[in-house]
Subunit: 226 residues, 2 copies
Amino acid sequence: MSEPRLVEVRRNVLKQNDVIARGLRERFRESGVFVVSLVSSPGSGKTTFLERTLTELRPRYRVAALVGDLATENDAVRLARSKAPVKQITTGTLCHLEAAMVENALQGWDLRNLDFLFIENVGNLVCPSSYDLGENMRLVLMSVTEGEDKPLKYPTIFNSADIAVVTKNDLSSAVEFDWNAAEKSIQSVRPGMRVFRLSAKTGEGMSEYLEFLSRQLAEQRAVAQT
Amino acid sequence: MSEPRLVEVRRNVLKQNDVIARGLRERFRESGVFVVSLVSSPGSGKTTFLERTLTELRPRYRVAALVGDLATENDAVRLARSKAPVKQITTGTLCHLEAAMVENALQGWDLRNLDFLFIENVGNLVCPSSYDLGENMRLVLMSVTEGEDKPLKYPTIFNSADIAVVTKNDLSSAVEFDWNAAEKSIQSVRPGMRVFRLSAKTGEGMSEYLEFLSRQLAEQRAVAQT
Protein backbone atom coordinates (compact mmCIF):
# COMPACT_ATOMS: atom_id res chain seq x y z
CA MET A 1 0.00 0.00 0.00
CA SER A 2 1.31 3.41 -0.93
CA GLU A 3 -1.03 5.10 1.56
CA PRO A 4 1.71 6.02 4.13
CA ARG A 5 3.86 7.57 1.38
CA LEU A 6 0.87 9.57 0.14
CA VAL A 7 0.29 10.86 3.65
CA GLU A 8 3.94 11.83 3.99
CA VAL A 9 4.07 13.67 0.66
CA ARG A 10 0.79 15.42 1.47
CA ARG A 11 2.22 16.52 4.81
CA ASN A 12 5.16 18.16 3.03
CA VAL A 13 2.87 19.98 0.63
CA LEU A 14 0.86 21.27 3.60
CA LYS A 15 4.01 22.34 5.45
CA GLN A 16 5.18 24.26 2.40
CA ASN A 17 1.75 25.87 2.15
CA ASP A 18 1.87 26.92 5.80
CA VAL A 19 5.20 28.68 5.29
CA ILE A 20 3.83 30.73 2.39
CA ALA A 21 0.59 31.41 4.29
CA ARG A 22 2.56 32.75 7.23
CA GLY A 23 4.32 35.19 4.88
CA LEU A 24 0.99 36.28 3.45
CA ARG A 25 -0.51 36.80 6.90
CA GLU A 26 2.43 39.02 7.87
CA ARG A 27 2.04 40.99 4.65
CA PHE A 28 -1.71 41.43 5.18
CA ARG A 29 -1.07 42.66 8.75
CA GLU A 30 1.56 45.19 7.66
CA SER A 31 -0.69 46.50 4.90
CA GLY A 32 -3.67 46.87 7.24
CA VAL A 33 -5.96 44.89 4.98
CA PHE A 34 -8.57 42.56 6.47
CA VAL A 35 -8.75 39.32 4.51
CA VAL A 36 -11.82 37.09 4.40
CA SER A 37 -11.83 33.73 2.62
CA LEU A 38 -15.07 32.05 1.56
CA VAL A 39 -15.63 28.32 1.37
CA SER A 40 -18.80 26.44 0.44
CA SER A 41 -20.11 23.69 -1.76
CA PRO A 42 -20.61 24.49 -5.44
CA GLY A 43 -23.83 26.35 -6.08
CA SER A 44 -24.45 27.59 -2.56
CA GLY A 45 -24.33 31.16 -3.83
CA LYS A 46 -20.79 32.33 -2.97
CA THR A 47 -20.45 34.56 -5.99
CA THR A 48 -23.83 36.26 -5.64
CA PHE A 49 -23.11 36.79 -1.94
CA LEU A 50 -19.65 38.16 -2.68
CA GLU A 51 -20.93 40.43 -5.45
CA ARG A 52 -23.44 41.95 -3.04
CA THR A 53 -20.79 42.25 -0.31
CA LEU A 54 -18.40 44.09 -2.63
CA THR A 55 -21.14 46.36 -4.00
CA GLU A 56 -22.42 47.33 -0.55
CA LEU A 57 -18.97 47.86 0.98
CA ARG A 58 -17.55 49.87 -1.94
CA PRO A 59 -19.06 53.26 -1.07
CA ARG A 60 -17.31 53.12 2.32
CA TYR A 61 -14.29 50.87 1.85
CA ARG A 62 -11.59 49.95 -0.64
CA VAL A 63 -12.35 46.34 -1.55
CA ALA A 64 -10.97 43.71 -3.91
CA ALA A 65 -11.41 40.00 -4.56
CA LEU A 66 -9.61 36.91 -5.77
CA VAL A 67 -11.78 34.09 -7.00
CA GLY A 68 -10.80 30.45 -7.48
CA ASP A 69 -12.34 27.96 -9.88
CA LEU A 70 -11.23 24.83 -11.69
CA ALA A 71 -12.11 26.38 -15.03
CA THR A 72 -13.74 29.48 -16.56
CA GLU A 73 -13.46 33.15 -15.72
CA ASN A 74 -17.23 33.41 -15.19
CA ASP A 75 -17.03 34.42 -11.55
CA ALA A 76 -14.49 37.18 -12.15
CA VAL A 77 -16.74 38.55 -14.88
CA ARG A 78 -19.76 38.50 -12.55
CA LEU A 79 -17.85 40.07 -9.66
CA ALA A 80 -16.44 42.78 -11.91
CA ARG A 81 -19.98 44.21 -12.05
CA SER A 82 -19.38 45.37 -8.49
CA LYS A 83 -16.65 47.66 -9.94
CA ALA A 84 -14.13 46.29 -7.43
CA PRO A 85 -10.77 44.95 -8.68
CA VAL A 86 -11.14 41.20 -9.19
CA LYS A 87 -8.71 38.52 -10.29
CA GLN A 88 -9.57 34.95 -11.27
CA ILE A 89 -7.39 32.02 -10.25
CA THR A 90 -8.02 28.86 -12.25
CA THR A 91 -6.78 25.73 -10.52
CA GLY A 92 -7.14 23.15 -13.31
CA THR A 93 -8.04 19.90 -11.57
CA LEU A 94 -7.11 21.05 -8.05
CA CYS A 95 -10.08 21.25 -5.69
CA HIS A 96 -8.75 24.06 -3.46
CA LEU A 97 -6.68 27.24 -3.48
CA GLU A 98 -3.16 27.19 -2.07
CA ALA A 99 -1.25 30.05 -0.47
CA ALA A 100 1.20 30.13 -3.39
CA MET A 101 -1.64 30.78 -5.84
CA VAL A 102 -2.86 33.67 -3.71
CA GLU A 103 0.65 35.09 -3.47
CA ASN A 104 1.03 34.81 -7.20
CA ALA A 105 -2.33 36.43 -7.95
CA LEU A 106 -1.52 39.37 -5.69
CA GLN A 107 1.51 40.37 -7.73
CA GLY A 108 1.20 43.96 -8.83
CA TRP A 109 -1.43 44.81 -6.22
CA ASP A 110 -0.50 47.30 -3.51
CA LEU A 111 -2.33 45.88 -0.50
CA ARG A 112 -1.94 49.16 1.41
CA ASN A 113 -4.61 50.56 -0.89
CA LEU A 114 -7.14 48.05 0.37
CA ASP A 115 -9.39 47.76 3.42
CA PHE A 116 -10.90 44.38 2.59
CA LEU A 117 -9.66 41.56 0.40
CA PHE A 118 -12.00 38.63 -0.24
CA ILE A 119 -10.76 35.27 -1.45
CA GLU A 120 -13.42 33.00 -2.89
CA ASN A 121 -12.16 29.43 -2.75
CA VAL A 122 -13.07 26.66 -5.20
CA GLY A 123 -16.57 25.31 -4.47
CA ASN A 124 -15.77 22.34 -2.27
CA LEU A 125 -16.61 21.33 1.29
CA VAL A 126 -13.60 19.07 1.78
CA CYS A 127 -10.35 20.03 0.06
CA PRO A 128 -9.96 23.68 1.14
CA SER A 129 -10.10 22.88 4.86
CA SER A 130 -6.40 22.09 5.35
CA TYR A 131 -4.97 24.96 3.30
CA ASP A 132 -4.21 28.12 5.23
CA LEU A 133 -4.31 31.16 2.92
CA GLY A 134 -3.12 33.63 5.53
CA GLU A 135 -6.65 35.01 5.85
CA ASN A 136 -7.89 36.82 8.97
CA MET A 137 -11.24 35.11 8.84
CA ARG A 138 -12.62 32.06 7.12
CA LEU A 139 -16.30 32.15 6.31
CA VAL A 140 -18.23 28.99 5.50
CA LEU A 141 -21.38 29.52 3.48
CA MET A 142 -24.30 27.14 3.21
CA SER A 143 -27.61 27.73 1.51
CA VAL A 144 -31.03 26.79 2.85
CA THR A 145 -31.49 24.56 -0.21
CA GLU A 146 -28.61 22.28 0.85
CA GLY A 147 -30.25 20.80 3.93
CA GLU A 148 -29.75 21.35 7.63
CA ASP A 149 -27.25 18.55 8.24
CA LYS A 150 -24.37 19.78 6.09
CA PRO A 151 -22.23 20.75 9.13
CA LEU A 152 -22.56 17.21 10.53
CA LYS A 153 -21.52 15.70 7.22
CA TYR A 154 -18.60 18.08 6.64
CA PRO A 155 -17.41 18.77 10.18
CA THR A 156 -13.79 19.54 9.22
CA ILE A 157 -14.58 22.51 7.03
CA PHE A 158 -17.03 23.92 9.58
CA ASN A 159 -14.41 23.44 12.26
CA SER A 160 -11.77 25.23 10.24
CA ALA A 161 -14.07 28.22 9.65
CA ASP A 162 -14.53 31.24 11.93
CA ILE A 163 -18.06 32.26 11.02
CA ALA A 164 -20.96 30.67 9.16
CA VAL A 165 -23.40 32.32 6.78
CA VAL A 166 -26.68 30.67 5.83
CA THR A 167 -27.86 32.16 2.58
CA LYS A 168 -30.76 32.01 0.09
CA ASN A 169 -33.06 32.68 3.02
CA ASP A 170 -35.67 33.88 0.50
CA LEU A 171 -36.10 30.19 -0.43
CA SER A 172 -36.55 29.06 3.20
CA SER A 173 -40.24 28.34 3.07
CA ALA A 174 -40.12 26.83 -0.43
CA VAL A 175 -37.65 24.20 0.83
CA GLU A 176 -39.17 24.00 4.34
CA PHE A 177 -35.82 24.89 5.88
CA ASP A 178 -35.63 24.07 9.58
CA TRP A 179 -33.57 26.87 11.08
CA ASN A 180 -33.37 25.29 14.56
CA ALA A 181 -32.06 22.02 13.16
CA ALA A 182 -29.42 23.88 11.12
CA GLU A 183 -28.35 25.99 14.08
CA LYS A 184 -28.12 22.84 16.19
CA SER A 185 -25.97 21.11 13.53
CA ILE A 186 -23.60 24.05 13.38
CA GLN A 187 -23.32 24.44 17.13
CA SER A 188 -22.73 20.74 17.70
CA VAL A 189 -19.77 20.80 15.31
CA ARG A 190 -18.44 24.20 16.30
CA PRO A 191 -19.90 25.39 19.62
CA GLY A 192 -20.30 29.14 19.89
CA MET A 193 -19.88 29.79 16.18
CA ARG A 194 -21.32 33.08 15.00
CA VAL A 195 -23.98 32.45 12.35
CA PHE A 196 -25.56 34.97 9.96
CA ARG A 197 -28.78 34.24 8.16
CA LEU A 198 -29.40 36.26 5.04
CA SER A 199 -30.40 36.48 1.41
CA ALA A 200 -27.93 37.99 -1.01
CA LYS A 201 -30.75 38.19 -3.53
CA THR A 202 -33.20 40.28 -1.50
CA GLY A 203 -30.57 41.87 0.74
CA GLU A 204 -32.32 40.71 3.92
CA GLY A 205 -29.82 40.24 6.76
CA MET A 206 -26.88 41.70 4.81
CA SER A 207 -26.46 44.80 6.97
CA GLU A 208 -25.86 42.82 10.17
CA TYR A 209 -23.13 40.87 8.42
CA LEU A 210 -21.54 43.98 6.89
CA GLU A 211 -21.50 45.76 10.25
CA PHE A 212 -19.78 42.73 11.71
CA LEU A 213 -17.09 43.01 9.02
CA SER A 214 -16.63 46.72 9.72
CA ARG A 215 -16.13 46.00 13.41
CA GLN A 216 -13.59 43.30 12.62
CA LEU A 217 -11.57 45.72 10.52
CA ALA A 218 -11.75 48.42 13.17
CA GLU A 219 -10.65 45.98 15.87
CA GLN A 220 -7.75 44.72 13.80
CA ARG A 221 -6.53 48.26 13.21
CA ALA A 222 -6.95 49.17 16.87
CA VAL A 223 -4.78 46.18 17.81
CA ALA A 224 -2.18 47.13 15.19
CA GLN A 225 -1.80 50.60 16.74
CA THR A 226 -1.25 49.41 20.30
CA MET B 1 8.94 21.07 -5.06
CA SER B 2 7.38 17.76 -4.08
CA GLU B 3 4.67 18.14 -6.74
CA PRO B 4 6.07 15.51 -9.16
CA ARG B 5 6.36 12.96 -6.34
CA LEU B 6 2.78 13.69 -5.31
CA VAL B 7 1.64 13.13 -8.87
CA GLU B 8 3.54 9.85 -9.03
CA VAL B 9 2.12 8.55 -5.75
CA ARG B 10 -1.37 9.61 -6.80
CA ARG B 11 -0.96 7.75 -10.08
CA ASN B 12 -0.14 4.55 -8.18
CA VAL B 13 -3.20 4.94 -5.97
CA LEU B 14 -5.36 5.39 -9.08
CA LYS B 15 -3.79 2.37 -10.78
CA GLN B 16 -4.51 0.25 -7.71
CA ASN B 17 -8.09 1.54 -7.71
CA ASP B 18 -8.53 0.62 -11.36
CA VAL B 19 -7.47 -2.95 -10.69
CA ILE B 20 -10.05 -3.37 -7.93
CA ALA B 21 -12.70 -1.58 -10.02
CA ARG B 22 -12.11 -4.01 -12.86
CA GLY B 23 -12.73 -6.90 -10.46
CA LEU B 24 -15.93 -5.28 -9.26
CA ARG B 25 -17.18 -4.70 -12.80
CA GLU B 26 -16.62 -8.34 -13.63
CA ARG B 27 -18.48 -9.38 -10.48
CA PHE B 28 -21.40 -7.04 -11.25
CA ARG B 29 -21.63 -8.45 -14.78
CA GLU B 30 -21.62 -12.06 -13.62
CA SER B 31 -24.29 -11.32 -11.01
CA GLY B 32 -26.51 -9.54 -13.53
CA VAL B 33 -26.86 -6.45 -11.34
CA PHE B 34 -26.96 -3.00 -12.95
CA VAL B 35 -24.88 -0.54 -10.94
CA VAL B 36 -25.46 3.21 -10.96
CA SER B 37 -23.17 5.61 -9.11
CA LEU B 38 -24.32 9.12 -8.19
CA VAL B 39 -22.07 12.17 -7.95
CA SER B 40 -23.01 15.76 -7.17
CA SER B 41 -22.09 18.69 -4.98
CA PRO B 42 -23.23 18.56 -1.35
CA GLY B 43 -26.84 19.57 -0.96
CA SER B 44 -27.95 19.03 -4.51
CA GLY B 45 -30.46 16.46 -3.32
CA LYS B 46 -28.76 13.12 -4.01
CA THR B 47 -30.28 11.38 -1.02
CA THR B 48 -33.85 12.57 -1.60
CA PHE B 49 -33.51 11.60 -5.25
CA LEU B 50 -32.10 8.19 -4.34
CA GLU B 51 -34.76 7.57 -1.70
CA ARG B 52 -37.47 8.22 -4.28
CA THR B 53 -35.68 6.07 -6.86
CA LEU B 54 -35.44 3.13 -4.44
CA THR B 55 -39.04 3.52 -3.28
CA GLU B 56 -40.43 3.65 -6.81
CA LEU B 57 -38.30 0.79 -8.16
CA ARG B 58 -38.89 -1.58 -5.23
CA PRO B 59 -42.33 -2.90 -6.26
CA ARG B 60 -40.83 -4.12 -9.53
CA TYR B 61 -37.13 -4.68 -8.84
CA ARG B 62 -34.71 -5.89 -6.17
CA VAL B 63 -32.73 -2.79 -5.25
CA ALA B 64 -30.02 -1.84 -2.75
CA ALA B 65 -27.72 1.10 -2.05
CA LEU B 66 -24.33 2.01 -0.68
CA VAL B 67 -23.93 5.58 0.49
CA GLY B 68 -20.68 7.46 1.10
CA ASP B 69 -20.13 10.36 3.47
CA LEU B 70 -17.23 11.81 5.41
CA ALA B 71 -19.12 11.43 8.67
CA THR B 72 -22.58 10.45 10.02
CA GLU B 73 -24.94 7.64 9.11
CA ASN B 74 -27.73 10.12 8.36
CA ASP B 75 -28.11 9.16 4.71
CA ALA B 76 -28.31 5.44 5.40
CA VAL B 77 -31.01 6.15 7.97
CA ARG B 78 -32.95 8.26 5.48
CA LEU B 79 -32.57 5.73 2.68
CA ALA B 80 -33.63 2.88 4.95
CA ARG B 81 -37.13 4.41 4.85
CA SER B 82 -37.35 3.07 1.30
CA LYS B 83 -37.14 -0.43 2.88
CA ALA B 84 -34.27 -1.34 0.53
CA PRO B 85 -31.03 -2.76 2.00
CA VAL B 86 -28.64 0.16 2.56
CA LYS B 87 -25.10 0.34 3.86
CA GLN B 88 -23.23 3.51 4.85
CA ILE B 89 -19.55 3.99 4.02
CA THR B 90 -17.87 6.72 6.05
CA THR B 91 -14.67 8.01 4.46
CA GLY B 92 -13.25 10.14 7.28
CA THR B 93 -11.48 13.03 5.57
CA LEU B 94 -11.47 11.47 2.09
CA CYS B 95 -13.55 13.35 -0.45
CA HIS B 96 -14.47 10.39 -2.66
CA LEU B 97 -15.29 6.69 -2.59
CA GLU B 98 -12.70 4.19 -3.79
CA ALA B 99 -13.30 0.78 -5.35
CA ALA B 100 -11.79 -0.95 -2.29
CA MET B 101 -14.40 0.69 -0.02
CA VAL B 102 -17.18 -0.53 -2.28
CA GLU B 103 -15.70 -4.04 -2.36
CA ASN B 104 -15.45 -4.03 1.41
CA ALA B 105 -19.01 -2.74 1.93
CA LEU B 106 -20.40 -5.46 -0.35
CA GLN B 107 -19.07 -8.26 1.85
CA GLY B 108 -21.92 -10.51 2.86
CA TRP B 109 -24.24 -9.34 0.08
CA ASP B 110 -25.21 -11.80 -2.61
CA LEU B 111 -25.32 -9.61 -5.70
CA ARG B 112 -27.26 -12.24 -7.65
CA ASN B 113 -30.25 -11.28 -5.54
CA LEU B 114 -30.18 -7.73 -6.90
CA ASP B 115 -31.40 -6.01 -10.05
CA PHE B 116 -30.08 -2.54 -9.26
CA LEU B 117 -27.33 -1.37 -6.94
CA PHE B 118 -26.94 2.37 -6.37
CA ILE B 119 -23.74 3.88 -5.02
CA GLU B 120 -24.08 7.41 -3.69
CA ASN B 121 -20.65 9.03 -3.69
CA VAL B 122 -19.45 11.69 -1.22
CA GLY B 123 -20.91 15.09 -2.12
CA ASN B 124 -18.11 16.57 -4.20
CA LEU B 125 -17.79 17.78 -7.78
CA VAL B 126 -14.04 17.23 -8.03
CA CYS B 127 -12.57 14.28 -6.15
CA PRO B 128 -14.81 11.41 -7.30
CA SER B 129 -14.14 11.98 -11.01
CA SER B 130 -10.95 9.89 -11.25
CA TYR B 131 -12.10 6.91 -9.20
CA ASP B 132 -13.69 4.10 -11.15
CA LEU B 133 -16.04 2.09 -8.92
CA GLY B 134 -16.82 -0.56 -11.52
CA GLU B 135 -20.26 0.94 -12.06
CA ASN B 136 -22.26 0.48 -15.28
CA MET B 137 -23.40 4.07 -15.32
CA ARG B 138 -22.29 7.24 -13.59
CA LEU B 139 -24.99 9.81 -13.00
CA VAL B 140 -24.14 13.42 -12.24
CA LEU B 141 -26.83 15.33 -10.39
CA MET B 142 -27.21 19.09 -10.24
CA SER B 143 -30.05 21.07 -8.74
CA VAL B 144 -31.70 24.13 -10.26
CA THR B 145 -30.61 26.11 -7.19
CA GLU B 146 -26.91 25.65 -8.02
CA GLY B 147 -26.81 27.77 -11.13
CA GLU B 148 -26.67 26.94 -14.82
CA ASP B 149 -22.90 27.12 -15.24
CA LYS B 150 -21.86 24.25 -12.95
CA PRO B 151 -20.90 21.99 -15.88
CA LEU B 152 -18.55 24.68 -17.23
CA LYS B 153 -16.92 25.07 -13.84
CA TYR B 154 -16.59 21.35 -13.13
CA PRO B 155 -16.05 19.92 -16.62
CA THR B 156 -14.10 16.85 -15.48
CA ILE B 157 -16.90 15.35 -13.42
CA PHE B 158 -19.48 16.04 -16.12
CA ASN B 159 -17.15 14.46 -18.63
CA SER B 160 -16.67 11.37 -16.51
CA ALA B 161 -20.44 10.91 -16.11
CA ASP B 162 -22.78 9.07 -18.49
CA ILE B 163 -26.03 10.87 -17.80
CA ALA B 164 -27.05 14.10 -16.06
CA VAL B 165 -30.06 14.72 -13.87
CA VAL B 166 -31.25 18.23 -13.07
CA THR B 167 -33.30 18.13 -9.88
CA LYS B 168 -35.38 20.35 -7.60
CA ASN B 169 -37.31 21.42 -10.68
CA ASP B 170 -40.14 22.50 -8.33
CA LEU B 171 -37.87 25.42 -7.35
CA SER B 172 -37.16 26.45 -10.96
CA SER B 173 -39.24 29.58 -11.03
CA ALA B 174 -38.28 30.64 -7.49
CA VAL B 175 -34.62 30.70 -8.55
CA GLU B 176 -35.33 31.84 -12.12
CA PHE B 177 -33.55 28.80 -13.50
CA ASP B 178 -32.63 29.16 -17.17
CA TRP B 179 -33.09 25.70 -18.63
CA ASN B 180 -31.65 26.58 -22.03
CA ALA B 181 -28.48 27.98 -20.49
CA ALA B 182 -28.06 24.84 -18.34
CA GLU B 183 -28.65 22.51 -21.29
CA LYS B 184 -26.13 24.53 -23.31
CA SER B 185 -23.54 24.27 -20.51
CA ILE B 186 -23.97 20.52 -20.27
CA GLN B 187 -23.86 19.96 -24.02
CA SER B 188 -20.77 22.13 -24.47
CA VAL B 189 -18.87 20.05 -21.91
CA ARG B 190 -20.31 16.68 -22.91
CA PRO B 191 -21.98 16.81 -26.32
CA GLY B 192 -24.92 14.45 -26.71
CA MET B 193 -25.28 13.77 -23.00
CA ARG B 194 -28.70 12.50 -21.97
CA VAL B 195 -30.27 14.91 -19.47
CA PHE B 196 -33.29 14.31 -17.23
CA ARG B 197 -35.14 17.15 -15.59
CA LEU B 198 -37.18 16.25 -12.55
CA SER B 199 -38.24 16.90 -8.99
CA ALA B 200 -37.68 14.14 -6.46
CA LYS B 201 -39.98 16.06 -4.12
CA THR B 202 -43.07 16.29 -6.34
CA GLY B 203 -42.20 13.25 -8.45
CA GLU B 204 -42.46 15.22 -11.70
CA GLY B 205 -40.19 13.72 -14.38
CA MET B 206 -39.28 10.64 -12.31
CA SER B 207 -41.07 8.11 -14.51
CA GLU B 208 -39.08 9.00 -17.62
CA TYR B 209 -35.86 8.48 -15.68
CA LEU B 210 -37.03 5.20 -14.13
CA GLU B 211 -38.09 3.85 -17.52
CA PHE B 212 -34.66 4.71 -18.82
CA LEU B 213 -33.10 2.68 -15.98
CA SER B 214 -35.38 -0.28 -16.73
CA ARG B 215 -34.33 -0.22 -20.36
CA GLN B 216 -30.65 -0.10 -19.37
CA LEU B 217 -31.08 -3.20 -17.21
CA ALA B 218 -32.99 -5.03 -19.93
CA GLU B 219 -30.33 -4.17 -22.52
CA GLN B 220 -27.51 -5.30 -20.25
CA ARG B 221 -29.21 -8.65 -19.67
CA ALA B 222 -29.94 -9.08 -23.38
CA VAL B 223 -26.25 -8.53 -24.11
CA ALA B 224 -25.25 -10.97 -21.36
CA GLN B 225 -27.36 -13.72 -22.98
CA THR B 226 -25.85 -13.38 -26.43
